[in-house]
Amino acid sequence: MMTALSDLRTDALREIGNIGLGGAVTALSDLTGVLFTLEAPQIHRTDTATLPELCETPESVVVGTVSRVNGEWPGEGAFLFPWESACVLWQMLIQMQPSELSDIDELYRSVINEVSNIMLGNYLQAISQMTGFTLQMEPPAFAADMAQAVLSSVMVEAMYGQRELLAIETAFKTAEHHFKGYFLYLPETGNLEKLFSVLGI
């Protein structure tokens, strides 16, 4: 059903996830003064749309953004934070947090949007440096809702017009705070060959 990716190519996609998010997480550390560590990126190829860890509790609240990326490796970049982690992030950055979903106002939204902007900008810059690709991002769109609903909306949109979906997922967390964030890059699969040829594999 799916076109198989060779081990080499899967490793290359993992490495891209690593390098890209390494840059992004450094930017977040600069912003917060907290050290973030990366988990090993995971490559998902799917014709539905589930992310095992986040979907363990499909109705729990996640806060997230999605941004369209244009250029030579187009796709969608999405950040997803479980509610408790989003609250940790708000505390770090503006020293306050909403007590429930309806408390999320323009300030809270703009903090998450800004974090996404900075992180995705750094992610794309790292990939640009590696590949020479020109990449532009559009401003992030915000949602706070059931995990499964947010995730599936992101993935279904990325899946539109494609037979299958490729997701490069990288989780980042802190040692001292109870925080875990997820980044997904969902590239248009038609452009994968171009990426691999630039990387010489």
Binding site: A49, P58, P139, M146, S152, S153, E157
Partner: protein, 174 residues
């Protein structure tokens, strides 16, 4: 209704129940829970539709994934042809747009709902209950025996409706 008894349709999946049981979907964003009910046989079939139109080949693997393949598959599962489909009643849940202020929105949720309406209208199937095109995600459970539906969203009170009359369910004598 406890969670354990609910037969859930995951993304692109179809579930069915006859006479009894509870069917539903969890975490619908732009996806649409598309339920067809046959009052004569008391059977209900539910597809978790993700996208409006089928991509070639793919639909054979997961017919519930696309509106255009899900509706004919639901008819077949209910042993009906397009000629006899008009006795069915439909329920649509989902098709929301969770991400606001998107600059290049594909409006997948809205297009899912539009496509389903067009397909159901062509088959003369009435949509008796609909909770679609909102700005939030939703989950729902449908009790086949009674026609009761419960729709949940985050941060809002659950909506409960008794659809027995609308679905043509005969009340059993007490």
């Amino acid at each position: 209704m406890t969670r354990a008894e609910v037969q859930l349709a995951g993304m692109g999946e179809i579930v069915m129940a006859r006479g009894a049981g509870v069917i539903g979907c969890i975490g619908l964003g732009s996806c649409v829970g598309t339920l067809l009910f046959d009052p004569r046989t008391h059977a209900a079939a539910l597809a978790h539709v993700m996208l409006p139109e089928a991509h070639e080949q793919d639909a054979k693997l997961l017919p519930g994934k696309y509106a255009t393949t899900a509706v004919p598959t639901l008819l077949r599962m209910l042993d009906l042809s397009p000629a006899t489909a008009s006795r069915l009643r439909a329920i649509l849940i989902g098709g929301g747009e969770l991400f606001q202020n998107r600059s290049q929105a594909l409006r997948i949720g809205e297009r899912n709902v539009e496509t389903l309406h067009r397909l159901l209208c062509a088959l003369r199937i009435d949509v008796v209950f609909e909770h679609t095109r909102g700005k939030t995600g939703s989950s729902f459970e449908f009790e086949v025996a009674t026609g009761r539906i419960k729709v949940r969203a985050v941060g809002a009170a659950a909506i409960e409706r008794d659809l027995a009359a609308a679905l043509g369910i005969q009340r059993r004598a007490a």
